[in-house]
């Protein structure tokens, strides 16, 4: 079952071998764009122009839920998020949740704290920590400058359909949920069991799950889910590029019956390397012109690469004194944690540890005071602030966090620049409530996720039996419809998923391992049908417990050896013949039956036995025997019985 409408924030339910797994638990935050930003320093004249509905009745119902800013309409209420379609399944029956990376776990508290979930959550340790930072940052932003008014009138179908397109396009707003709390985060993460790369975990004896490096972020992983005879792989948030995390490990993903792919790049038209170059270039141009640069960002992930590339480029351009400010409620833990996860990093980063140096250069930047981190704008920033500067601040949606303050502060000056690098949000929509904006806007989305060509190459290499991808991955992106190569192309054609859809995966359980109890084994008389292969008929009871199959003696009282039809009549015991016919023995047996003058003729495939007196021809071939007689029943029966006697039977 696919619970999420955004393939980059996936959430699936997989029923396999009697186990129910949830694969990722992503939270689609893009719906917060429908809301007004949460200002850090509230101003009375900001966002207070009420939007009037043309229909007075509806306007009356709406009240002042909607506000108009620069021609766009926004909801003036507390922020809400679009959680996955948890109603599609009974969450209390989910046995385990497998998380791939910090980007795909933000809806986890909704499952663990509000659904009766009793299973276990598996992820790597960095994913847990970075995920915690993301969640805490989100909650802090929402709680720090709360807008306590919950707006729901605009969501009613009657009103929603008459609202401007931007709001009308909201996906199931009635199902949106308010943000969880810090307590929820603590409780939720306490249920997490951390795993290492390639560490095997047994799920109720039925499945072995393993996490393997996906190269996307620190501790990000792909999952292999194995039963003794089947293997399913789940690829989410994977990168084949060389960045800071440990490179992708493809070996465990080979020889799989099926691969599910999600979280491919959100910006297939933009090359990440070029975008980093653009980012650095635009930053330096602004600084050299005396302006400030604002970079809306998440507290971890790509930001580490940005610090590294940007500081080195600033050095190249002789701008060694320009300060970098990093504002996030979790900025301290984010910078600190990144430097202690050496074993989860790329080879080059790991090798720095042996020098010994911190794996990331931002540690040095912090130590020399060039990169300064603050929990928020009131955390001493005023004392150190020096312009021109580069500010990294959350949240990339521009609806919450310190970034809102900086846009309001710098937005009126043409010398400043806002640089978008996070691809999660359409930047024009994100900027809509701040219009008219004078500051320069640059869009350099950096998404290291798999591009279509990389994904196709990877799949050609991994050769899975079947491929399952998002529906949007098999057709070119809507804004690049002519780019027909921007699709996932595979043979057999990939199965596709979309929000709210249930898919039957083409995996058939053909084999299963069954154990036989010693008591039953004693009664079995195997017959060797070919060297090393013995066969026997068994009548026993099949016991299934903890996904293990055992054959046991039938309990007393059960009829043994007598099978009955549904109507109660006895089924005659059948015997199974096998083996190849010895022609000479067969001829001798026929002779003993009184058939004389038998002629045998060898052919390419076997022999033909001619019984001229009975006008009968017996054709014996490798896998078949044909008796062609003139219809005399006695002769036919005689030959049949003789033949059966000459063959072995079970």
């Amino acid at each position: 079952s696919c619970l999420s409408g955004n393939p980059s924030k996936p959430c699936f339910i997989l029923h396999f071998k009697g186990v129910t797994l949830m694969l990722d638990c992503g939270l689609d935050i893009s719906q917060v764009l429908k809301f007004l930003p949460l200002s850090v320093v509230p101003k009375s004249d900001n966002y207070d122009k009420k939007w009037n509905h043309s229909d007075k009745e509806k306007d009356k119902i709406l009240g002042d839920e909607l506000k108009e800013v620069a021609g766009s309409v926004f909801v003036d209420g507390s922020l809400e998020f679009c959680a996955p379609e948890f109603g599609m399944t009974t969450l209390s029956e989910v046995d385990a949740i497998l998380l791939s990376n910090h980007n795909t776990m933000l809806a986890l508290p909704y499952v663990t704290e509000y659904s009766g979930f009793k299973g276990t959550v598996y992820c790597t340790e960095p994913t847990q920590q970075i995920g915690r930072q993301y969640m805490e940052e989100l909650v802090t932003y929402v709680e720090r400058n709360p807008r306590n008014k919950k707006c729901s009138k605009w969501k009613s179908d009657a009103i929603l359909s008459s609202l401007p397109t931007f709001l009308r396009e909201a996906i199931r707003p009635t199902a949106w949920r308010e943000c969880y709390t810090k307590h929820d985060i603590q409780a939720c993460l306490s249920r997490v069991q951390t795993v290492g790369y390639n560490e095997k975990r047994n799920i109720y004896g039925a499945l072995i799950i393993t996490a393997c490096s996906s190269g996307y972020s620190i501790g990000s992983c792909n999952w292999t889910i194995k039963s003794p005879y089947q293997k399913i792989c789940y690829i989410s948030g994977t990168s084949t590029l060389t960045t800071h995390p440990k490179p992708m490990d493809t070996e465990p993903l080979r020889q799989s019956d099926l691969i599910i792919v999600s979280s491919m790049t959100k910006t297939p038209g933009y090359n990440p390397d070029q975008m980093i170059g653009e980012f650095c270039m635009n930053t330096v141009v602004t600084i050299k012109n005396g302006g400030n640069v604002l970079v809306p960002c998440y507290p971890s992930g790509m930001i580490f690469d940005l610090f590294e590339c940007l500081s080195s480029h600033l050095d190249s351009c002789g701008l060694t004194t320009v300060p970098l400010y990093f504002l996030s409620p979790v900025s301290d833990s984010s910078l600190a944690y990144s430097n202690i996860y050496a074993e989860w990093l790329s080879g080059s980063k790991q090798s720095r540890v042996y020098l010994p140096e911190p794996p990331f250069p931002h540690a040095e930047l912090v130590s020399i005071g060039r990169l300064r981190q603050y929990l928020n704008i009131h955390d001493g920033l005023q004392n150190d602030f020096k312009s021109p500067c580069i500010v990294f601040a959350g949240h990339p949606s521009l609806r919450m966090g310190d970034v809102v303050h900086f846009i309001e502060l710098w937005g009126k000056s043409t010398g400043n620049t806002i640089l978008f690098t996070e691809p999660d949000f359409p930047y024009l929509e994100a900027l809509a409530p701040f219009q008219p904006l004078q500051m320069k806007v640059c869009y350099c989305p950096i998404d290291t996720g798999l591009s279509f060509s990389q994904a196709n190459k990877l799949m050609r290499d991994l050769k899975p039996g079947h491929l399952v991808v998002a529906e949007s991955y098999v057709q070119p992106p809507s804004n690049l419809s002519h780019k027909t190569d921007m699709v996932v192309d595979y043979d057999p054609p990939p199965l596709t998923y979309k929000r709210g859809e249930i898919l039957t995966l083409p995996i058939k359980r053909q084999f299963e391992t069954v154990e036989i109890t010693p008591n039953l084994a004693k009664n079995v008389s195997p017959v060797e049908v070919k060297p090393g292969c013995m066969v026997s008929m068994v009548t026993a009871a099949l016991n299934i417990k903890d996904n293990k199959y055992t054959l046991e003696l039938l309990p007393d009282g059960h009829l043994s050896g007598k099978k009955r039809r549904a109507d109660g009549s006895l089924i005659r015991e059948k015997s199974y013949i096998w083996g190849s016919l010895n022609i000479q023995s067969f001829v001798d047996a026929l002779t003993r039956q009184g058939i004389t003058d038998i002629k045998v003729e060898d052919t390419e495939d076997g022999s033909i036995i001619d019984l001229p007196n009975d006008d009968t021809l017996i054709q014996v071939e490798g896998a078949s025997t044909h008796i062609i007689c003139n219809g005399e029943e006695i002769v036919r029966t005689k030959i049949r019985d003789t033949l059966l006697r000459c063959l072995q039977k079970l």
Binding site: I276, G277, M281, N289, S316, C317, G318, L319, N479, L480
Partner: protein, 767 residues
Amino acid sequence: MDTMNEQEYCKKVQEVFEFLLSSSCNIHDDTLYHKLLDSLNGKMITPEFAESCGVIDFLQRAGNNTDISPDTLVFAVQLVEKLVSKLELPGIHLDTMSVLIETVALRTSVDNLSVFCALFTTLTTILQRPCIKEFCLNIDFQDILKKSFDILKEERSIFLSRAVSEFICSLFSSKMAESQEAKKLLKELQTIIVNFDRDGSQRVLSPSMLCSLRVLEKAPHLFNDSFAEILDVLIILMKIGSTQSSTTAARCLHSLCLQCQDRAKSERVKSLVTKAIETVDIVKGLHIAKVLYPLQLLERSSLENIILKPLQMLDKTNHSPAMHSSLPAVSLSLTIVNDCNIQKLEACKCVAEVLKMTENRHDDFTGSGCNSFTGSSKLQIKCLDYLGSYTSKEVMLSVISSISNIVSYITEHMIYGKCLQCLCRLLPEVLCSSCYSSERSTVKSDLSKIKESVQRNFCSVEWEFRDTSCEFVRNLMDKHKDKEGVILWMLDSGFLVFACQAVGDGESYVRATSLSTLQTVLLSSYRTNLLQDMNTTIGEIISQVLDVCKTDSEAFPRRSAARLLHHCLLDLSYLLHPDSIQCIAQCFSTSLPSDFDWEVKLIMVEFWCAILKRCFDADLDKETSDQPLGIVVSLDCLKNEKDGKRGYVSISSAINVLLKLSCDYDPSVSERVCQELCWICETMEKFVLKINSATNDDNRSDWCMCAHCSQLITELLNRMTERKEKTRDDSVFKTDYDSNALSLLDDILLLDRSHDNNDEDNAIDCY
């Protein structure tokens, strides 16, 4: 070479020849033959010396010796070539040499390609010498000509065919052209051309046909007898031959036409060529037109039509992909337009149009407006090359618009550089044009787009872009230093600030270019405005540059910095604060002499020489000297203080710096310093004389002759004497073999002696 050495040399040369003629001679390394040949060529100044060295004897014996190795034979033949072309040899020596050539021609198998290559090359040289007839007396010239013709027909090897072809061509421009043998050969060459297979099966020409055509091209008058047939063949060849054959035929037709006395014949050639060129395919037509354009066989305008045809066939209405001309044809056409330097409006329009079609547009990614030319760097380079040298006013704005679009989405720094070169050329005219001041014109927005792109590229991740941007600013300042409009545009764009900030760039090349730009700024007549715009002063710049001189780890920025300081002191000393002058003087006298880079040291040498020259010149001719003397060089020692002017370094210190550098480990530095010290020494001597003969008190007080200064002059004179002695021997820069010809001979003889122990398996070929 003194007599002793000469005798030893002759003796050794003879020994070497003996070794070469011996059957045991086995020189694996043929470079030794070449070095010996070069050495002998240098030493053989007279026929007598050649004789005394045993050269003539060697040649005689080489002709008679059937056992000598092919390499030695090649050496002997090449030695003949060198001697004949260099010396006026007596008849007896010529006889010896002609016998050798005759023997080689007769006895050697044609399979021995290197020997025959050398033979024909030597014969080609001899053909041009006055002694050719005398030389040919002893050889069977007819046989050699026959052999040469046979070699051509057999198509043996490219090198041999080429040598033979050269020989035959030279024959018809030599004194031997009138010989019976030559005439016979000419007949055969004519026959080859006339009998050319006209059915088109022979698209690639045989060496004999090629040779015949080369002779025809060089001496068309010899082919007058069969003019009609040859014309016919050439026209066919032009139509059906390969590109190379067609262009060869075109050149022959031009020669044929040139020598035509008969106007009718000449007109016929032109008309046939015109018709033929119209029937051939477009690419071949372009190749032929390229050959004919500088030859003036046809009207240039008609050839220009052919050359521009692929460009004119493009669908210009909407730059759509529906084009009638292929990319290779357009590319070739552009190459020819560039090569032939067709600077005409029509050509310029076409090139500008192609450039427009190659524009990298923002909508490329969405697919609309793309064609096969979009983003073609090959075409862009050719167009920009052309437009960089010529752009007519009519297309100027279109070119600016294209450049603005190209640089907006540029990914190759080479094209970026060419765009900026082109812009640099066009900018003054654009800024003066009426369109620029018109509100409706798009040129302003194009220029502002370019400004934005250049600013971005000043901050590019790739240093080449940053460097090219800096270079652009330098070029603007340099080429349009008097054009106020350009300077204002540049100031408005803020480029100057970016260029000067690049002094702190991470890449040394960018720092170097930035410093050169700063130098141009300081030397500009708009200096004050420029410095104001940059919000800096000359003193701050000097301090920054001095810092680069002393601390930069790379040589390129230090070179640029040293150059800047050099020019500042020489040309702008009146603007500098005394502290700055002192710092520069100190830098040049203490830091730079110990620099690791030879070029920095050379700049420093130039600096001190220029300063000293000014001091000396001013002193010698006081009336012409307006320069404030002693601004750098102090007058207080060697040259005494005068009029209260004090410098920062004494002349003696300056000379001391140069003296130290005359012993520099880098020969290019020490050699240069020694050259400079010559004139300094001469000038100093004049001053000493002047002092000694001076009678009035003024002159006596000008120059000091204290013990220190006397010692300096003595040291200077000693150094010069040492140098003269050193230069008497051969230059130190020459290789060991050049400086000592005997060592080469010794090495060859060593091969002879070590022959027994020579283990071929262990021989290492160092070449």
